[in-house]
């Protein structure tokens, strides 16, 4: 018993690896960047004069406030993904931001100064149509929410419902818009398409219907896209078929007045749906009587409706000789009614302010701004105008461009900050080693070149030695120079020019591909963006695959990455070949791909320039090789590349469908071929590099009959190595496949919990052929061991650590929905964990089986730096065997290092050199002295 407990303790000690960071290590090896995504609604906080907040609700269901001075986040609230957390409307009133979330499910009020929730109410079911603030006698105290069949009014102060009313004839009439002019009435506008408009007027006090009218409008199909309320309750609509504007006074008239556009001397650009924009600066007052009319993609007008009279105040028609392209016009609220218009002129942003009442341009408000042609066209702009101390008008602009970059601009054309929101949706990434420095490369180059005569070789050697000497001297000089400066001023600025590999290859270039089609090169040490490249011809539903064809190891050939961009619908693909260190497009022209691509694969073969060969298989089963030089074709022993089917496994789709196919990573090394058992024999691992793990899910979703299938198939021979079924289970399944094991996680419908299962494959006590593995010559099926565990949390991403030589023990990195990244030792997922502890299992250091895997807080590698919505985890080896680089990406990006077996090959930061050397010296002198003393003693004895 004593022995058992003793061993238990030993076991615990050996497996409880403390992995927490010390306080002084926070941020030393890791960094996190937080993003919000593409803006859907945005408002400037104009409540306080000196406020520096801009509030935004985004497509990613995030509500956030940014600092307008620096672009940093003040606070951020991340809601559920998908339609459940979708932000439908965003209204700002003073300190309160009102959000309608989840197709009208929730109404929330946030305090924007601190980002706290004021209140939240659950609304009645029904699809959301519109929301607006309601003012009465110069104050705004209520908010109205219009749904398909009901309208409800809530107090702004506490969210309580004031009244709720069913809409009349809601089965026929499609109610779409809300309007309140600040006089205690709420107007609901509905439409029966191509027939009439229905206007219902409710009393603000008790929700009684005051008036109900219907107006003929056979040309109208949608109010929200064609109409706007202008001035004193005038509905103004535009119709492209009849080329007319229609107006209706909601208070008095019952028939629409038609104003042909021709009478104003205007015409619509063909195939363009005209857009009307009105502006209501304050919910307690009526909208402006001025409105914007867009008649063409580049043609905007400022019109005024005054007592039934339509006047064109200004025509922002492109001036022919300047060929400016007008992209957008927006209203800007301030005490004065200003109108902002911007003109894009061939990569130059031209912004000016106009007075809305007169249509005249304001003095000193025009700015030209050169925008990086690499960011795409501006998509939307948000403007904040304010009065300066001398009462002149100034403004700041937030521009969102097609590549989801946010740029904040101050009046004299100064870019205050930019945010790369494309990084909130990283699709795939790679980590590429940095190149050698110039001098190192020079030396390398010397060895690479062919020998040409003794003398020239000697000269070359001498010249490279000279260069090294020069570099050393300059380095010394720099050290001397820096030593005189205070420590804080010496900064190692990372720029693209001085990029070079560090001693242990810990610093790498992270090449990230985002869904918007923008590529980034990020320094893994600091997180600074070193290059970016926007590919503007990427389809919106593209799938990406990033491959490293040539690493930096082949000087003088530059490293080369290839991005395969495939349209998911048509299957047509393009290749983008670039240098991953500088982001520049390569001069190598990739092959033109005219057929839809079915599959792509990288071969381990290299051409004469050390670029790995990429094969692309099209729907005609023809193969395109890239690069396709003669050398490559020679190596492939083929001039005309075609494919032949040699094996076929058919999984009937009516029973189960394949969800994931996972092979092993090509850069993975396995150090040990087997495991030493308790009796000193060796259990050999089944290390098949061609093994694929295929995961299927049943089509039957009933919780009793649903199952998950796991097939292990040899990719070369098509042999099914193992086939298992996890009954009463369903996805989503996360799989990691490495070495001789497969770990997968699923949802058990029977026990209603998340479970982990691990499969390990062993050849047995002896190897069939220990020198080389061939799928064609391995007749005996491996032994399969499997065990399952309960995991107390759902997971959102999973990956295994990877090190240079594979000596370090493996950990699983698990991204949890809570934002933590867990580093779970693979030891705990071992099908050989014994249920009954025996002498031999103890000898092997196996942990006794326990059905539950516990989450220990010290296993979180990201301490309090939560990573929202982790979508993927990327691991890469470093030059140190103990160290693995980890990048988790999702809404945020988090980079860190992990040491699965701790830093066994590095001396600690606080290693006491002084103590060790002083002890050494002391010992040395002690021996010297004692030797001397001993000699003297011996001599004395001899004399005696």
């Amino acid at each position: 018993m004593a022995k058992l407990i003793f061993l238990w303790l030993k076991c615990l000690v050996s497996c409880c690896i403390v992995e927490a960071v010390f306080e002084d290590q926070v941020g030393k090896f890791d960094w996190r960047q937080q993003y919000v995504g593409k803006i859907r609604f945005s408002h400037f906080d104009s409540h306080v004069q000196s406020s520096k907040k801009v509030l935004m609700a985004t497509e990613k269901n995030v509500f956030a406030a940014l600092n307008t001075r620096t672009g940093e986040l003040f606070w951020r609230h991340v809601d559920k993904t998908g339609p459940e957390g979708n932000i439908d409307a965003f209204l700002l009133h003073g300190q309160d931001a009102l959000l309608v979330v989840g197709n009208g499910r929730l109404l929330r009020s946030w305090d924007i100064s601190v980002g706290g929730l004021n209140w939240e109410v659950v609304l009645d079911s029904g699809s959301f149509q519109s929301a607006c603030l309601i003012g009465q006698q110069d104050t705004v105290k209520h908010v109205a929410v219009l749904k398909k069949t009901v309208i409800s009014v809530h107090y702004l102060s506490n969210g309580h419902q004031k009244w709720i009313e069913n809409l009349p004839e809601s089965e026929n009439i499609d109610y779409q818009a809300l309007y309140s002019g600040g006089n205690g009435e709420v107007y609901v506008l509905g439409i029966v398409p191509h027939s009439h408009i229905a206007i219902v007027v409710y009393s603000m006090e008790d929700g009684e219907i005051i008036k109900q009218t219907s107006v003929e409008a056979p040309w109208l199909s949608n109010i929200q896209t064609s109409c706007a309320v202008v001035g004193q309750g005038m509905i103004t609509c535009v119709d492209s078929l009849t080329m007319s504007l229609y107006t209706l006074d909601m208070h008095t008239q019952s028939k629409m007045t038609q104003i042909p556009l021709q009478s104003l001397g205007l015409e619509v650009t063909p195939h363009f749906h005209p857009v009307l924009v009105s502006h209501q600066p304050n919910a307690a007052h009526q909208p402006l009587s001025e409105f914007l009319l867009q008649l063409g993609p580049e043609h905007h007008l400022l019109l005024q409706l005054n007592s039934g009279q339509m006047v064109v105040l200004r025509d922002f028609k492109p001036v022919r000789h300047m060929t400016p392209v007008l992209t957008s016009c927006v209203f800007v609220s301030e005490s004065e009614h200003n109108l902002q218009i911007d003109i894009l002129l061939k990569g130059l942003l031209h912004l000016s302010l106009f007075n809305a009442e007169t249509g005249r341009r304001l003095l000193d408000t025009t700015q030209f701004l050169s925008i990086d042609p690499n960011v795409g066209k501006p998509e939307s702009i948000y403007v904040q105008a304010f009065l300066k101390k001398d009462d002149s008008v100034s403004y700041r602009v937030l521009v969102q461009t097609e590549d989801h970059t946010l740029t904040f601009i101050h009046l004299p054309g100064r870019v205050m900050w930019t945010r790369e929101e494309a990084l909130s949706e990283v699709v795939t990434m790679e980590m590429v080693e940095l190149p050698l420095t110039g001098t190192q490369a020079e030396l390398e180059g010397e060895f690479g070149k062919k020998a040409d005569g003794l003398l020239s070789m000697v000269l070359k050697r001498l010249s490279s030695q000279l260069i090294l000497l020069q570099a050393w001297v300059s380095h010394l000089w720099k050290l001397f120079y820096d030593a005189r400066k205070p420590r804080s001023q010496v900064k190692n600025e990372i720029s693209i020019e001085n990029l070079s590999r560090d001693e242990f290859n810990l610093q790498k270039m992270m090449v990230m591909v985002t869904a918007s089609g923008k590529l980034f090169g990020i320094d893994s040490k600091t997180g600074s963006i070193l290059w970016k490249q926007y590919l503007n011809n990427v389809p919106s539903n593209a799938a990406f695959k990033l491959m490293v064809q040539r690493t930096t190891a082949h000087f003088p050939h530059p490293p080369q990455c290839t991005l395969l961009i495939k349209d998911k619908d048509t299957g047509l693909a393009t290749l983008h070949v670039f240098n991953p260190i500088f982001g520049k497009k390569s001069h190598i022209t990739p092959p033109a791909l005219t057929q839809p691509i079915l599959q792509s694969l990288m071969l381990p073969l290299m051409d004469q320039d050390y670029a790995k060969v990429l094969l692309l298989i099209d729907d005609q089963y023809k193969v395109t090789a890239f690069p396709s030089s003669k050398n490559v074709l020679q190596q492939l022993q083929e001039t005309d590349l075609t494919t032949t089917q040699i094996w076929e496994v058919i999984i009937p789709t009516e029973i189960q469908k394949v969800v994931t196919v996972k092979g092993k990573r090509s850069n993975e090394h396995v150090h040990s071929q087997g495991r030493v058992m308790g009796d000193r024999s060796v259990l050999y691992k089944y290390l098949n590099p061609n093994l694929l793990a295929v995961v299927t899910e049943s089509t039957d979703v009933h919780q009793e009959r649903s199952f998950i299938g796991i097939l292990l198939i040899d990719g070369v021979t098509g042999r099914i190595i193992h086939e298992a079924v996890q009954r009463k289970a369903k996805g989503p399944v996360h799989v990691v496949h490495s070495e001789n094991w497969v770990v997968y996680e699923y949802w058990s419908t029977k026990s209603r919990r998340n479970e982990f299962s691990v499969i390990e494959l062993y050849e047995g006590m002896e190897l069939y052929n220990s020198t080389v593995f061939s799928s064609l010559d391995r007749p005996h099926a491996p032994h399969v061991l499997q065990q399952s565990y309960i995991f107390p949390s759902a997971i959102s991403a999973m990956e295994a650590t990877l090190t240079e030589k594979g000596i370090t023990s493996r950990h699983l990195l698990i991204g949890l929905p809570s934002g933590g990244i867990l580093s779970l030792p693979k030891m705990f997922l071992d099908p050989r964990r014994p249920e009954i502890v025996s002498e031999q299992s103890r000898e092997e250091n196996l942990i006794p089986y326990a059905p539950e895997l516990l989450i220990r807080t010290e296993w979180f590698i990201n301490y309090n730096q939560s990573v929202s919505r982790v979508r993927g985890i990327h691991t890469a080896p470093s030059g140190l065997e103990s160290t693995c680089l980890v990048v988790a990406y999702g809404l945020d990006i988090y980079q860190t290092r992990v040491y699965p077996s701790k830093q066994f090959d590095v001396l600690k930061d606080d290693y006491d050199y002084m103590l060790i050397s002083s002890v050494l010296f002391a010992l040395f002198f002690a021996t010297m002295i004692s030797k001397r003393l001993a000699e003297v003693k011996l001599l004395n004895r001899a004399w005696r």
Partner: protein
């Protein structure tokens, strides 16, 4: 408990194998299958075809008949002819150019009630190197895989031995008859977490504790001489070495590999 671990593993393996496979007779091909089995209601036969061509264009010919017996425990047997002289020569020729020896079976559904429902469109194919077939003297292992519903989803063929060493093969003696080991495999049920057994063990342990309380009570008193130095050692090492003794940890962890 007394068994060495290796033999226990072997037992587990063999249980796995027994559970998942049902080996059936290997037929030496001398006679066609005239068993009463065939007449039975559940069994039916499908052709096993093979192809080996010098130009590697598939041209499948019947090699034998697979007799599949459906039911709760599906089984399979094979009746096959000897290789003709022409085929033997061709196989050697194909082996000489390192061609492929392919086999295929039609897709079938084992659990169907009617004969017409059993056959489905398409074939399942697999291959070995022809030279491996020749050098193993036609000793092959064919495995049929089914899914949960009894659809045949894959076939695999390996030869024993599987390597091509270029050894001489005598036509008449070695390439006359197939020596086939045939099996059919259904998916294994993956185990769930073993909570019941674990709880049982826990209960047993608590029971044990309850039985002799003296021993438990005096545990610390009995073993303090082990615990105190250990705790001291841990504290010392913890204080000295906050990140936890580099190489030692690595080695201790190495067991996980």
């Amino acid at each position: 408990m007394a068994l060495p671990l290796s033999s226990k593993i072997t037992i587990i393996f063999s249980i796995f194998t027994i559970l998942s496979t049902r080996f059936v007779s290997c037929n030496n091909g001398r006679r066609l299958n005239n068993d009463p089995l065939e007449a039975e209601f559940n069994s039916f036969s499908v052709p096993l075809e093979h192809s080996f061509e010098v130009d590697d264009v598939a041209n499948f010919e019947v090699r034998g008949a697979l007799v599949l017996k459906a039911g709760r425990e599906p089984s399979v047997s094979l009746a096959q002819q000897q290789l003709s002289e022409y085929d033997r020569a061709k196989l050697k020729e194909v082996a000489a150019v390192d061609g492929l020896y392919r086999i295929r079976v039609p897709r079938v559904l084992l659990q169907a009630d009617r004969q017409t429902e059993r056959l489905m469109d398409g074939h399942l194919t697999a291959f070995v190197r022809a030279c491996a077939m020749v050098e193993s003297h036609l000793s092959d292992v064919i495995t049929l895989h089914t899914d949960v519903a009894g659809h045949l989803i894959g076939v695999s063929i390996v030869t024993i031995p599987g390597a091509c060493r270029g050894s001489e093969v005598e036509d008449e003696v070695d390439l006359e008859a197939f020596n086939t080991t045939l099996s059919i495999m259904a998916p294994v049920n993956a185990p769930g977490p073993e909570t019941a057994l674990f709880l049982e063990r826990m209960e047993l342990e608590t029971e044990k504790k309850g039985k002799n309380p003296q021993e438990q009570k005096s545990f610390f008193a009995k073993y303090w001489m082990y615990i105190v130095p250990l705790v001291l050692f841990l504290m010392m090492s913890g204080a000295q070495d906050p990140s936890g003794g580099g190489a030692g940890g690595g080695a201790a962890n190495g067991g996980g590999r």
